[in-house]
């Protein structure tokens, strides 16, 4: 089975067409691959993967000088694709073939991504609203249903946490500034607070503040009462929760 279309993987990279099956000696192929890996950092990463995990699963077949790869995961399959494309970019004369490729479990992968996204959505509001449910994968084949409290409550909880931290930061800056400077100008205090929010946890909080501002403006269009329970449907096909929030019924 060809890994790339008829034009060869080099056509995807904008280089010349790959000649076809291997006419190069094995040592030339190895030298070309080595050179390709040296000039590209991504190739170095692929080489590390090859050395660490899958070196025993790749071999050169003497009759055709083609790669035979037995993949163990979809992730490795993607890395191998990168590896082969780098070799073709330098004009190697072989064509990648997959002798026995494990069928990627797309459903499982999407399920894992979907659950991770839902978990992050559920537990991102510290100490405010405990999630009232969990993922129930059996509800539908194409949907995951999770019962959340009001998304506005989640936003409000995050905003409250950021505001509390900002207040603590403000008090800390006020205590640290000299009394004379505090008395003369509050502009210096504002400048001190702003500059402290440029690094470390302050920068993280600044980013959270702007994210919350955008989310609160966007989610205000839902106009949801504070005690309403919503069902957040996470569409499996996209693995994305955004835009899938609907009122029950």
């Amino acid at each position: 089975m060809r890994l790339w279309p008829a034009g060869g993987c080099s056509s995807l990279l904008g280089t010349s067409r790959t000649p076809g099956w291997g006419a190069l000696p094995r040592r030339d192929i190895a030298a070309g691959i080595h050179a390709a890996l040296l000039v590209d950092a991504l190739g170095a990463v692929a080489a590390r993967l090859m050395r660490r995990q899958v070196s025993d699963q790749c071999r050169l077949a003497p009759p055709d000088y083609c790669w035979l790869v037995r993949t163990t995961s979809p992730l490795f399959g993607s890395w191998f694709t990168l590896f082969v494309s780098l070799g073709a970019a330098v004009g190697l004369g072989y064509t990648a073939r997959v002798a026995m490729k494990r069928k990627p479990n797309v459903e499982e992968r999407r399920r894992v991504l979907c659950d991770a996204r839902l978990r992050s959505l559920l537990w991102r509001a510290p100490g405010t609203h405990t999630p009232q449910g969990g993922t129930t994968g059996g509800a539908s084949r194409r949907h995951y249903v999770v019962v959340l409290s009001d998304p506005l409550c989640v936003i409000a909880g995050n905003s409250r946490a950021v505001a509390e931290l900002d207040a603590a930061e403000f008090e800390a800056v006020t205590r640290q500034l000299p009394q004379s400077e505090t008395a003369t100008t509050t502009l210096a205090l504002l400048a001190q607070i702003v500059m402290r929010s440029a690094s470390g946890v302050g920068l993280d909080r600044s980013r959270a503040r702007y994210e919350l501002a955008f989310h609160s403006r966007r989610d205000a269009c839902y106009d949801v009462p504070s005690r309403t329970t919503l069902r957040v449907r996470c569409i499996e096909r996209t693995g994305c929760c955004a835009g899938a929030v609907r009122r029950p019924g």
Partner: protein, 73 residues
């Protein structure tokens, strides 16, 4: 808080509430821009003293502009 901050800046005449409001708006908007630059990873200012100097210049500039506009009217 911005209004309190700009109200503490020494001025020549009596405090004009409209001027204070205008200065506070300018300071808040400027600080918001500074923080956005920090968030996106493009901070230009290094120290709080530098930012304080810019804020004072901004307040003074808005006051000068306000006075010029008021004299023209």
């Amino acid at each position: 808080m911005s209004e309190q901050a700009v109200a503490q800046v020494p001025s020549d005449g009596p405090v004009d509430p409209a001027l204070v409001e205008e200065q506070a708006y300018a300071v808040t908007t400027f600080l918001n821009g500074v923080m956005v630059r920090q968030v996106i990873g493009d901070p230009r200012l290094e120290t709080a003293e530098e930012l304080t100097r810019l804020l004072h210049a901004l307040v003074a500039g808005v006051a000068a502009s306000h006075h010029v506009h008021a004299s023209q009217v």
